[in-house]
Structure formats: C-alpha cells, structure tokens
C-alpha cells in the first residue's frame, strides 16, 4: 500500500524535509514472462495496465516503455479534454472517457488538475453554422452536454476575441461544451503509473521492443533491448510508432504518422478562461495554470517520426490567432515542439484484435488521443482481459476498413494512394 497523497501527508513530510516520500513507481527488472505485456508507457498504455489490475484483477502485467513514461504524445499535447463528437460511436467512447476524467484525481489519489473550464468551437460561415448545429443537436440527443452560443455570449465568455462582423473570419456563433476543459498531461501518465505500480504492475522504462515471437499465428512474447519476455497476451499502444510495431508483427495498418506541432507563450496573468478552437483557421488556444497560452494547429501533411514539423503551419496558425485575438500579437512564443500522431483515413481510432492471435492494438487516435486516455485504457483493458472487444470498442475494429463502415470524424474521404 502506497502513502496517500493529501494536504496532511504533505505537512507531515515537510517536518522532516520531505525525506520520506516513496518512489511514485518501482523500477523492476523484467520477469521472464507475464500474463499481459503492454507495449508503450504513455497515458493510454499505463491506463490500460491500471484498469487491467483494478477492474479485471490481472496484475501479472508489464508495461514496456522504450524511453521515459509519458515521453510521447502524452507529454506533447495541448491537454484538451472534450466529448463533443458527431457520430454516436465516437460520442459514446469519448463521453465514457470524460466521465472517468471527472473522478480521476480521486480515483488515482493523484491530482491531474482536470479543469472543466469549457470548450468553445467557433463558426465563421453559414456553412460552418449548419455543420455546427448538426453536431450540437447530435451530441445533445446522445445525452451529452453541448450548446450553441451567440456572438454576444461568446464575447462575454472571451472578451479578448475580436467579434466584429467585418473581421475576415467573422464569428457567427460557437458550440460550447461546459464539461470540457484541460488537464495536466504529465500527471495523467504519472498518476496511472503510480496506481498500476501499487497494484503490482511492473513498469519497465528504457526497454525497447525489437520484435515479436509469433508461433502459428499466435504471439508468444516480445524481443526487447533487455532480452526476450514471454506473454500470454500483448497489447500495442504506441501511437506514432504503431506502424513500426505492426511491421514487426507482419501486418499493415491504415495509418500514417504525421508531425503535430504545439507551442506555448510566456506565462502571463490570466486573460483566457475557456478553451477556444477555430477549426476553420486551424487554431486552438487555452491558458495553462502556469499562465502560458497553449496553442495547437493542424498536422503537417508529410509523414514523419521526427517530433518536429515545418514553420508554415505555425506561422499560419499564429497569423490567424493574432487576428482572432488582436491583443495577443505582443505576447511571445516561449517554446514550440512536435509530436508524432498516427492518423486514420476516417480520423477515428483502431481498438481491438489484429491478424495475430492474442496480439491486440490500440492506435490511430491522431490528434485526439489525450482526451480519450482514461476511456481508451478502460475499454482496451476490457478487450485484453476478455479477448473480446469492449462494447464501446466494437465499431472501432480494424475490420471496418474492409467493410467500409468508417466513422468519419472529419468528413474527408479515404485517401486513394
């Protein structure tokens, strides 16, 4: 049993100069074999391990991370959490995640700073407004909170926005999900790691998977930089590198890995209390608790594993931002970076079985992975434990690319070569 975190334990430990705090998680050597191996120590992988132990009693589990926990997209995203998705399948999955977010700090006894400050999606044209209504009404009928704001209401919530009708992209309205917001991304990985470790899961960092041992189409274990490790079941949760792992296992995925760039401004006193997104001009912005404006844009078009994108994306994004928020133009960019997002043709994830027996995959979250973390881990744990997909995961099977039952969350068609 680990120390509980609380104001009281904090005070108690202060008295002897914080000398008695335990490790948040152990650093064990890998055992020869496990019931379940999860490849990928990001938020989704760690959450999967946590729920395997907590809800399915499967604790003989190892999480293998080639670098450091949360070093991938978990620690590189813009921390937005929402469930305002168009199609029923997505809405249910992301709402499942949002409900878990709402109790996550207490469940983990680790403050992930989930802040339900509201998410606003701006509409700039008549067509935007039609699409926005379609989306909001669908979300509402799925029993999820979402509303439509008038420009006046928008101005009230976000006074910094230029709501003048003669703007190049006039603001005609917005959808608003009050239960949406942001969370502290690193804390999510650390909290799940601590919780999983407490329940007996081995978390093994600096352990890169180099191959699979597959006999008669069934996975037996993984080759790693720290030797062979046997496993009854293996779950692959490696986001941008899913294609590489699939390659090792001998199958292909409908994925491309792209850079997704983000940046933060210098910290300033609070000026923006909600998350504002403008899909049309490819900007989303929020202000972190440290005071930094956190900005994201669209993905770079080209394939890349570099965790770095090209300047035009950021330039266009900041160009648009300064037009939406004229006062921001004197603020300064403090740090920019990139992640590697694995995108599906229909902008929806893949959760479930693979052509290899007992090898399961959870990938394709594209730019939307962080918000799904608890839900993704939760349904994937169920899928691993039962060997059958969680009901919410069924529509997201790899199969859909064969049948054509895509869940198109961006309205774009499949890319012909």
């Amino acid at each position: 049993m680990k120390q509980r975190y609380s104001i009281f334990s904090l005070v108690r430990n202060a008295l002897n100069y914080h000398a008695d705090w335990q490790e948040a998680w152990r650093s064990p050597d890998p055992k020869p074999a496990y019931d379940v191996i999860i490849i990928g120590g990001g938020g989704h992988g760690l959450a999967t391990a946590y729920y395997l132990a907590k809800e399915h009693g499967i604790t003989n589990v190892a999480v293998l991370e080639k670098g450091w926990l949360g070093g991938g997209n978990t620690g590189r995203n813009t921390t937005i959490v929402r469930s305002n998705y168009l199609w029923d399948e997505s809405a249910h999955l992301y709402e499942h995640a949002l409900k878990l977010w709402e109790g996550l700090s207490q469940d983990l006894n680790y403050n992930v700073m989930f802040s339900q400050r509201g998410i606003m999606n701006l509409a700039h044209t008549v067509h935007d407004m039609q699409a926005l209504r379609r989306r909001v009404y669908a979300i509402q009928l799925n029993g999820i909170d979402s509303e439509i704001l008038t420009p006046a209401q928008i101005k009230e919530l976000v006074p910094m926005l230029d709501c003048s009708p003669n703007a190049r992209y006039p603001i005609m309205g917005a959808s608003f999900q009050r239960r949406g917001g942001t969370a502290r991304h690193d804390a999510v990985a650390w909290g799940y790691a601590r919780g999983a470790d407490e329940r007996g899961v081995d978390i093994i960092q600096n352990c890169e998977v180099t191959g699979f041992k597959i006999v008669n189409g069934t996975v037996q274990g993984v080759e790693t930089t720290r030797g062979f490790i046997g496993a009854k079941k293996v779950g692959v949760v490696v986001a941008g590198h899913s294609g590489v792992l699939a390659g090792m296992a001998g199958f292909r995925l409908p994925l491309e890995s792209h850079p997704l760039q983000a940046l933060v401004s210098e910290p300033i006193k609070p000026i923006l209390d909600t998350v504002v997104m403008s899909p049309q001009v490819h900007v989303y912005v929020s202000q972190s608790d440290k005071g930094e404006l956190v900005l994201g844009a669209g993905i770079d078009a080209f394939n890349s594993y570099a965790q770095a994108g090209s300047p035009p994306i950021v330039e266009n994004q900041l160009n648009a931002l300064c037009d939406l928020f004229p006062a921001f133009s004197r603020l300064r960019m403090m740090r920019q970076w990139g992640g590697i997002v694995d995108t599906c043709p229909d902008a929806s994830p893949i959760i479930g079985k693979t052509p290899v027996q007992n090898l399961f995959i959870n990938c394709g979250w594209g730019t939307g992975g962080f918000k799904a973390t608890p839900g993704s881990g939760n349904v994937f744990a169920h899928t691993l434990a039962r060997g059958e997909p969680h009901p919410l995961a069924v529509p997201f099977a790899l199969e859909r690319f064969t049948t054509g039952y895509l869940i198109d969350e961006h309205g774009a068609a499949g890319v012909a070569h």
């Binding site: 975190y5 609380s6 104001i7 904090l10 005070v11 100069y17 000398a19 490790e23 948040a24 998680w25 450091w68 620690g75 680790y110 403050n111 700073m113 989930f114 802040s115 339900q116 407004m129 926005l132 379609r134 009404y137 669908a138 509402q140 009928l141 799925n142 029993g143 910094m160 703007a167 190049r168 502290r184 804390a187 210098e266 910290p267 006193k269 005071g291 570099a306 300047p311 330039e315 900041l318 160009n319 300064c322 037009d323 004229p326 006062a327 921001f328 133009s329 004197r330 603020l331 960019m333 403090m334 740090r335 920019q336 064969t402 049948t403 054509g404 309205g411 068609a413 499949g414 012909a416």
Partner: protein
C-alpha cells in the same frame, strides 16, 4: 542631474554626452546612451529588481545577457505594455517606463512573500499531492493558483505597432558576431560569398566588447572590432544584422531570425517603421558562433540580490562603466573568474577575496591576481549569503579533503556583491534544434555539439563548441569562413587569421555541482538551480527520491528549465546533480533537447501585415462592384465572396429570397455563376478519361451537347459533380462546384500523371477565362432574343443540354442551355473583361420584364424545390450515389471508373444505408433548421436514437410551404412515415417524402 552613484568616472562604451531619463517602479533615474536597463539600474545602485515565481524571493540581476533568469521587467504602458522582458537585453531610451513583476503591493514589501513562510510545505510537485478534496474542489483552488502564477501582465488592447516579415537567401549565415563570428564573416566576405551576419546585441563584437587587456592584430579589441565591422559594412554582398536573434533552426538550413527594428527607440518610433521583423533565411551553410554561457555555482542562498555571474560583473564594468557593487567576493572553480577579479579591481571595485574551490590553482591569471594583492582563499567555499533585499556579506568555510563537506571554522566577510563562476556551457541551442546530438566533454565539463544531422549543413565554432581562447576562436572563425566560402565555390582572397597578444594560459577546472554548506542541502539556506522557477538542489533530490529521474521527468516534475529562460543557466547544473544522486555519468541522465525559440519571439512578427483582409484573400468576380453597388449581402464560399441575396429597402432576408425565388419561376432572373470551376480537356483520350472519373458514360456524347456527371473518390463516396460539354471530338469543357474546383483539377492531374501517363490528354483550368451569368425563368429566352442576332434560341435548334457560340450585346459569348433550377435557363459565358457590359446590357433590356438578380440562397431554394443535390451539403464524404438515389447515373455498361470497386463492399452496398429523402413539416410555415437531427421515436429526455439529419431546408414560396432534404436511415423504405426533430426545446413532426417538391415531371425546362 541626479548622480549615478555606481557609475565609473570613465571607460565603457556608453555615451556620457547622451543622458537618458527612465523610471523603474515609478522612481526616476538616469542612464546613458548605450546602457541596458540592467546596466543603468546597477549604475544607480539598484540591485533589487524582481520577485521569484513561486516563493517571491527578492531577486537581482544575475547575468548581462539572454540567459537572465531573474531580472524580468514589465516594460511600457497601456496597449504597448510587454511582460517578462529581460532587463539585461532592454536597451535604454529616453522616457523608458519599467515596472517590476509578480509582487504586491511593492517590490520591497511583497505580500506574496508569505509563500516563503509555507515554503517547506510546497516543494516541487506539491500540487499533484493535494487540492483533491472535495471531488469538485479543483475548480475552486485553481482560481487562486492561476492568479498567483503567470509573472507579468499581457496587454488587453489591440497592438498599435506594425510588424514586417520577409524571406532571404545567402551562401553563409553566420550567427554570432563575437571574435569567431567576425573572423568568419571577414574571411567569407572577402572571398565574395553572400554572407548574413547576425547578432542579438545592439553592437557587433560579442565578448570583445567587454575585453580590457587582450590585443588583436596589435590594436585594442575594441578598435579591431570597429575596423572589422567597417570593412564588412563596405562589402556589397554582406548583410550585417545587429539587434537580431537567430531563434530557430528548421529543416534543410532554414533559420528564423527576429530583428528588433525600433524597440530601442521607444514606443514613438513604431508608426513610421515596423517594430520588429521576422527573417526567414535559407542558407547554403550555417556557421554557429553563438559563444558560451557562464554557469553559476549552486551555493546556499545564491539568489540574493547582489549575487551575479563573474563574467557579467566584468561586462558591466568594462562595457558599461557601471559597478554592480562596491565590495566584491568571488567564488570560482576555474581560472576565468580571475579576469573579473583583475578587471573589477582595476576599475576601482574592492575585491576582498577570490574563494577558489580548488586547493591549489596555479594558472597565470591566478598569479596575476595574487600579484595585484587580491586575497585568494583556496580550498574554501561560500557557505551562506547574508542579507534579504540585498547582499550584506558571506560566510566562508574550508572544504573537507574530499570537497563534499566543510569543516567548522567559519569566516565572515562584509560585501555587497557575490560573484560566482562554475565554468562555461557552449550555447548549443541552435545545433540541438537541428535535431543533431550534443556530447559531453570531460575537458570543459560541458556539452558540445556532436555530428551534424544529415540534410543540415551547419558547423559550430569558437565558444559554441567549447573553444574559449581568444586566439583559437579567431583562428577557427577565419578557417570556417574561408573554407565555407571555398566549399561554395568562392576561391578568392580571404586574408590572414587575426593574431592575438596578451592572452594568459588558463589552468584546469574543478567540477563542483553543489557547493556544500554547514547544513545538509534543503535544511539550511536554499541552493537555487533554476532561479526563475524557484527549483532548488533539494527539489532535484526530491524528484530523485520519488523516481522522476530521467532528465525529462526531472524537468517536468520540478519545472526546472521550463521558465522563460528555458534553463540557460540551470540545465547542466541540474543534470549533474541528478547524475551525482544516481551515481552515473552526466550524459546517461540524458541531454535536454533544445526547442525553438532560443529566446521568446513576438507572435505579431508571424503576421507581418497579413491582418484583417490580408489574412486570407477574398476572391471577387468581374461583376463584384455591381453587386456591391446594388446592395448585395455577400456569402463566403471557399475564398469567394458571392452575392447571398439582394435586399431591397426594408426587406428582410426572408422577403428578399422569396421575391428572388418567385421571379425565377414567373419572369426572368439573373445570377452570377462565375465562381463555378471550369476545366478545358483536350486530347484523343479525353472521352476515355471522363469515363474513368465520372460514373456515367461519355463516349457517345455528341459535340455541342452537355451532360451532368458525378465524381467519386476511390472509396466510392461522392466527391464532386458538374456539367461537362463536348466542344469537339477531342475537346471537352468541364464544370465543377465552386469549392471543389482546385480539388478536381489536381485530382485529374494526379490520376493522369501518376496512374495513366500514357493517355493522351491535357487539362487546363479556365475557371477565370469565363464569366458566367445564368438567366432563369420563362421570360429568359425572350430577353436573350433581344440581344443576339446570331444565336437561334428555339428548342429545336438550341435544345436543353446543348450550347451555342455567338454574340450577345455585341460581344462574343458561349451560351449553355443547362439548368440548376428546372426552369428554362441559359448560362451565358463571356470574357470577364466584357462581363460587366453584358450584365448591364441584360439588366437594361430586362428592366421591362422586371429582371431580378438573385443570390446563392435563392439558388439553393430553387434547386431544392427540384431536389437537386449540392455536394458538401447533401454529401459529407460518407455518401454514395445510391444513398442519393442517383442509380440512374451509374453506368452499368462500364467495366471501370474511380470508386467502382468500393461500392460493392459489405457496408457500402447495404440496402438500409442513409438515403436522401424529402421532409415536409406538419406545419407548412415551420422551416426546419439545417443540421437538425431526426428521430423515429421521441423520448422524454435524451439519449434518443437518431436516424438521420436535415441537409437542406428552406421556405419555398413556389410550394407555399417549407421544404427540406434529409439523409435518413433506410429512408426510401419509409415514405410517408412521420419522424420527429427534437431541438431548441421543441419537437417538430415531419413526414418523409420523395426529395422533389416542384414540377416533378420536369415540364418547365422548356418554358
């Protein structure tokens, strides 16, 4: 004028004939032209300039450059105010207004300092461990945390200043104009190469500007710099950029620079010139001469105002004639700090002692200091700093043999300045930004650039790769410049490497990462590692204890290196301390990857002038001015501005659209359809190609005739549509949707060039070669007849779905008899330069028929009355032709067309997919909202199962009721069913019908 009590009588590069007045926290001071805000404050004896982020500790000025973590300033007022600027980089100008940050009510009495009472309860990561009760409590706590965080204040008004951005190219981009950079620029410049030399400071010269003794080419460093800069300035192919920071190094040698054009002149200058300028440089080769940054030592209470880097003090004295203090003590683990000792005492600062952590330093500088009578206390450490708002003295203790502890015997020295030097870290930021590795050098105990990344072409020279001797830096610079130029084909004269005299040799450095104190670390004073984020050695130990041991976990858990200085003075110290705790080599803890920008860069520079209407072009047709003059309301379609409707005086949108829609079926109307995409297709395989990209058959279409076609993606989903006409056997004229025009053009080229290159066909976009105005309505033929002599308009010679060439109103036109309204309709195509003439002629002749111009909304209503789809409205990338009930356009005879195979996939061929249907509300005046979701069974609250949504919905004055198109699951088998639309707090019943509401037999097409 008020005296500047710490200003030296002479020396420095400031202009004593140009005094400048400025205020700091409301108090007025004076400095000189050439001062930074920091040097001017110090000259005025101001050492307390800020409060720290978390504990609100009083802070002074640590450095003299970009690495400054403490002296962050709120500069300027109102709409021009700027937070978090480094006093060490703010050039002084007359009337400058500066405020300290993160304190209330004042810098000397800051209530926030209460935090330091609780400081033992708020170590790194404390917020992860608490604020979890009650369950929803975080939203409450967060408010206070947000208020407490955030340093300075952002402006809330529109930015009044202008910005500029441009592209530039060169052979060699040299970053840093210190000794090595200048030498490189001279060598390359002389050879005739195109050189851009940038330096972030107001003057080129770098460390040479702070040099008192060493001589270059037989003259003083300052004179040599002046000569070098003059020679470079005279070279036509050399661009010198001072006040310009190279902040990002992107792929393939593209480097971003930010030039501070008028910041140093104060706010007034902004109007005439841009305030700042973004340079996007593409270089053939990049030379990184970015120098090195001195590391502070990590000792107890090393953050007191008056604690400073040794090299910084030397710069203030030598370059600015400004004394950071009167009585100094210096602690060091290397010889470099002795330069400060010598120069400071030369300038008249009392240097009480140099406390050297090494037991027996023997370098020439050490000897020189001794000779000067400066006390040198070897094998000792500063174990504590006295004073809160300013340093009043230090405690010194002898180090134990192993150097890890101190023995009891203590000595106290009164002083107001504590200098430290822990060695130098090369400025490898830009090298690291190329995504190349850095490697650890045991010689200098610092990270140096590793091999360059393939695809990049950069090299680091001088201090930037750990070469610190002046002579060596100049030699390296000269070599890099001439070799670089030679590699790029410039062989000419690059001259001799500059020679240096008076440069003493230096002894070795002793790595000491935590200077021990009489109390265990974390229990006595604070050993700060990251000043700005208040991260101490104890925090690093806590992170280690709790398992946050990789460099990235350390940074993220303690926030070390995440402040506005991005850890320029703290990263290596923190890494080394963690390495010690883990008992491993420093590099195996990890190296931090530096991300852009090197120093923060203004967001406005990314816009340049591209604001407002320049943010994104608005495309206008040839008749745009006419539409404006006639009161059109415009709608944004792709980048086009199209007339939405033309309200007459006092008309609502509803009134206007109804009038326009009625006119189209009773009289004659005109609409500007110029924005439709048009593609000219020529070649013997043109018809074959159309067969591949459209679902229907094209081979048999006769010249002079037109046909409607539907395009699918290879996934079988509807992608675009339009009418294509056969001009001659091998010549077609294709039209596309307005939004789809560019997409379709590249779609055709892609398939032709990549998949069927052997097919003989050429595509040319002619969207803007033609202006298009469509006449609709029973009287349209009558009107045209009046204006043409050579085009027969009767059904026999000019039937529906055909075109004719001829003249209208005296100019050449091509008229298509096609219809998007189901009415008798003629689409007049003419030259854009004639368009206004033709349009006016039609309006004039049409006056007697009360010709009515209409916009996109009326167009939508008219086609909806007929059940014609709009791609992007009835479709969304998930809809097949069968879903739309357009089986008639799917050629059965053809063996192949794009998307064909996908239509037979298991899900795509399902009979019960969503189908396009009509919806009629029970209440004929109720107009459904587009996007409205449809349910078969209403429940008293959500969730409810949705079976489809409304794609188009209007009031139809011709049907005298509302009409709507919708996509409904299995809709074609639900004709007559009543469904419900629950939204906006009401439930609207509607009946499913055929998606046709007017003239379903299509009789009106011939008028």
């Amino acid at each position: 004028m008020t005296a500047q009590k710490n200003r030296l009588g002479q020396g420095g590069r400031i202009d004593r004939t140009k005094p400048l007045r400025f205020t700091f926290d409301g108090k007025t001071y004076y400095g000189y032209q050439g001062d930074t805000l920091a040097s001017a404050l110090l000259a005025n004896g101001v050492s307390l300039v800020g409060r720290s982020f978390k504990y609100h500790r009083p802070r002074g000025i640590l450095s003299a450059g970009a690495e400054e973590p403490n002296a962050l300033i709120q500069l300027g007022l109102g709409d021009r105010t700027e937070p978090n600027l480094r006093a060490t980089q703010i050039e002084l100008y007359d009337g400058l207004v500066a405020e300290s940050q993160n304190r209330w009510p004042s810098l000397t009495t800051d209530f926030g300092a209460a935090n330091s009472i609780f400081q033992k309860f708020i170590p790194s990561g404390f917020y992860y461990k608490t604020f979890m009760w009650p369950a929803k409590g975080w939203m409450f706590y967060e408010k206070f945390i947000r208020q407490a965080a955030g340093l300075g204040k952002g402006p809330t008004e529109q930015d009044p200043d202008r910005y500029d951005k441009l592209y530039a190219s060169c052979d060699l981009l040299i970053i840093g104009a210190g000794p090595s950079g200048l030498a490189a620029a001279l060598a390359a410049g002389r050879s005739g190469a195109r050189v851009i030399l940038v330096d972030e400071q107001q003057e080129l010269g770098g460390s040479l500007l702070s040099e008192r003794t060493a001589e270059v080419d037989g003259t003083s460093a300052a004179d040599w710099v002046a000569g070098a800069v003059a020679e470079l300035a005279a070279m036509p192919e050399v661009t010198l950029l001072s006040r310009t920071v190279a902040w990002a190094y992107y792929d393939h040698n593209s480097v971003s620079l930010m030039e501070r054009v008028t910041d140093h002149l104060g706010p007034v200058a902004g109007a005439k010139q841009p305030r700042q300028r973004l340079w996007r440089v593409r270089a053939k080769e990049v030379i990184l001469a970015t120098g090195a940054i001195e590391r502070p030592l990590v000792y107890s209470d090393n953050d007191r105002p008056g604690c400073m880097l040794a090299s910084a003090a030397r710069t203030y004295v030598n370059r600015y004639g400004s004394m950071p203090g009167q009585r100094a003590v210096i602690m060091t683990n290397n010889d470099g700090a002795y330069r400060a000792a010598l120069d400071l005492s030369e300038a008249g600062v009392t240097v009480f002692a140099v406390v050297d952590l090494r037991s027996d330093p023997q370098g020439e500088l050490v000897k020189a200091a001794r000779a000067k009578g400066i006390e040198i206390i070897t094998g000792h450490a500063i174990t504590g700093v006295k004073g809160k708002l300013a340093v009043t003295g230090v405690d010194i203790m002898p180090l134990t043999a192993d150097g890890k502890g101190v023995t009891s015997a203590s000595r106290h020295i009164h002083c107001d300045l504590v200098l430290s030097s822990g060695g130098w870290q090369p400025t490898v930021h830009l090298h690291s930004q190329t995504r190349a590795k850095v490697v650890w050098s045991d010689d200098i105990q610092a990270f140096v650039p590793g091999n360059k990344l393939p695809g990049q072409n950069n090299r680091s020279i001088g201090g930037a790769h750990g070469v610190f001797g002046l002579a060596d830096c100049l030699a390296e610079g000269h070599a890099a410049g001439s070799e670089g130029a030679a590699r790029l084909g410039f062989g000419a004269q690059s001259g001799q490497a500059p020679s240096v005299s008076g440069e003493p040799a230096e002894g070795a450095l002793l790595p000491v990462w935590i200077v021990p104190s009489d109390k265990p670390v974390g229990q006595g004073g604070k050993h700060f590692v990251d000043y700005q984020n208040d991260v101490t050695a104890a925090d690093v130990m806590l992170a280690h204890r709790e398992g946050y041991r990789s460099v990235e976990h350390l940074k993220r858990y303690t926030t070390m290196g995440m402040a506005t200085d991005q850890g320029k003075t703290s990263n290596v110290n923190a890494l080394a301390i963690m390495a010690g705790l883990r008992n491993v080599e420093i590099p195996s803890v990890g190296t931090t990857t530096f991300r852009p920008p090197y120093t923060p860069v203004t967001l406005g520079t990314f816009s340049g002038i591209d604001k407002g209407d320049f943010l994104d072009p608005i495309r206008k047709t040839a008749m745009h001015q006419w539409h404006e003059q006639h009161g059109a309301v415009f709608e944004c379609v792709a980048q086009w501005h199209r007339p939405y409707y033309y309200p007459k005086l006092g008309e609502t949108m509803h009134d206007a659209v109804n009038r326009e829609v009625k006119a189209a079926r009773t009289g004659v109307t005109i609409v500007d359809a110029s924005t439709l995409g048009k593609i000219d297709i020529q070649g013997p395989d043109a018809a074959w190609f159309l067969n591949m990209v459209y679902t229907n058959a094209w081979t048999k279409l006769e010249p002079g005739r037109c046909r409607y076609g539907l395009m699918l993606g290879e996934d079988g989903m509807v992608f675009d549509d339009g009418v294509t006409s056969r001009i001659s056997e091998n010549h077609f004229h294709m039209t596309t949707t307005t939004g789809g025009a560019p997409r379709v053009m590249s779609w055709l080229e892609e398939w032709h060039q990549c998949e069927w290159p052997d097919k003989k066909v050429y595509f040319t976009s002619v969207t803007e070669q033609w202006s298009v105005m469509a006449l609709n309505g029973p009287l349209s033929r009558k009107l045209l007849e009046e204006l043409t002599t050579d085009i027969p308009l009767d059904d026999a010679t000019f039937p529906f779905m055909s075109f004719k060439d001829g003249h209208l109103a005296g100019v050449p036109v091509r008229i298509f008899r096609i219809s998007f309204t189901g009415e008798l309709s003629f689409e007049v195509n003419c030259k854009p330069s004639h368009a206004l003439h033709v349009w006016r002629a039609l309006m004039q002749a049409g006056e007697k028929y009360d010709i009515t111009p209409y916009g996109t909304e009326a167009m939508h209503v008219l086609r909806a009355e007929k059940g014609f789809i709009i791609v992007g409205q009835e479709t969304d990338g998930t809809i097949t032709p069968y879903d739309l009930g357009m089986d008639w356009i799917m050629a059965k005879s053809k063996t192949d067309f794009l998307g064909r195979r996908s239509l037979t996939r298991e899900d795509t061929k399902r009979p019960d997919r969503k189908h396009l249907v009509g919806l009629l509300t029970d209440n004929p005046n109720e107009v459904l909202l587009e996007g409205g979701q449809i349910v078969a069974h209403v429940k008293d609250r959500p969730p409810m199962e949705m079976i489809g949504h409304v794609t188009s919905s209007y009031y139809s004055p011709n049907c005298n009721r509302s009409i709507a198109l919708a996509l409904v699951k299995n809709g074609r088998n639900r004709m007559g069913e009543t469904v419900y639309l629950p939204y906006e707090g009401k439930v609207i019943p509607a009946k499913i019908t055929e998606p046709k509401f007017f003239d379903s037999e299509g009789k009106r097409i011939n008028g």
